[in-house]
């Protein structure tokens, strides 16, 4: 089951920092579903996963919300 992180209303760089904090505490293979309504979140979470080697399983949009699912490497 993926842990849901709600970062709605937050602005750069907070969603990435909060993601980093949560992922740091998790074990390898743990999954997260991150919800954020900052339009910059999509390119940012993609870049963050690319750099940190955590796996970006997918990004979908529901209205203004951007929902990213990631797996800790």
């Amino acid at each position: 089951m993926a842990t849901r992180l709600d970062f709605k209303g937050m602005n750069c760089p907070m969603p990435i920092m909060k993601t980093a904090m949560a992922v740091k505490k998790a074990a390898s293979g743990d999954q997260f579903e991150i919800v954020c309504d900052d339009p910059g979140f999509e390119p940012d979470i993609t870049a963050w996963c690319n750099e940190t080697k955590n796996v970006l399983n997918g990004i979908r949009k529901e209205g203004k919300d951007i929902i990213a699912t990631i797996t800790k490497a």
Binding site: G9, N11, C12, P13, I16, M17, T19, W48, E51
Partner: protein, 192 residues
């Protein structure tokens, strides 16, 4: 076995040994580069609110990506890492004057544009709050929580009459060699 053949064999052994040595040396160098990958060193020279803000956002981003970040804070940049209040007792007249004229801490900095005698920063802070952007002092605290290394320039501190205890807790003091050493071990260096 002739003497010639023996000599040839020992020559080959020497060459093999040298190649192995070279390979080992290169492997060590690559390992070192991989360790340094993405580490960042910044010089925060400016004491402008907007520039210090940008510097700490970038620092926080790098920290969130798991990199080591060193911020070498010099000259006007020191304004950004001062405690909001400290006593200037025991300092010279000129030092007291300079300290009285400079802002104390992240919440007192002026903006590089549209400062309007101090109204600009208040306006920006209000607009940032409205849009849920974190405040500069929170950014600094977060960076420290993530393990940023903030190093204040000893020489600038001396010139301005600043003491280590006037600066935020956790700030180290160092010189240009420390900055350069940190920069050589990083692959990104920024001057703000």
């Amino acid at each position: 076995m002739s003497g010639e053949q023996t000599a040839e064999k020992s020559m080959a052994a020497v060459t093999d040994g040298k190649i192995a040595e070279k390979v080992k040396e290169l492997e060590d160098r690559i390992a070192q580069l991989e360790v340094n990958k993405g580490n960042m060193t910044m010089v925060l020279f400016s004491g402008d609110f907007d520039k210090a803000f940008a510097a700490f956002i970038i620092a926080n981003g790098a920290l969130a990506m798991g990199k080591e970040v060193t911020m070498f804070v010099t000259f006007w940049g020191l304004d950004a890492i001062k405690k909001p209040a400290f006593s200037t007792a025991g300092r010279g007249f000129l030092e007291k004057m300079v300290l009285a004229m400079r802002p104390k801490g992240p919440n007192k900095l002026a903006t590089s544009k549209m400062n309007f005698g101090g109204i600009g920063p208040k306006l920006f802070r209000f607009m940032m709050k409205q849009k849920n952007v974190e405040q500069l002092h929170t950014m600094i605290e977060m960076a420290q929580e993530f393990g940023v290394r903030i190093v204040a320039c000893q020489m600038s501190m001396d010139v301005m009459g600043l003491k280590k205890e006037d600066l935020l807790d956790g700030v180290e003091v160092g010189g240009v060699a420390l900055f350069l050493n940190s920069s050589y071990q990083s692959n990104t260096t920024l001057f703000v």
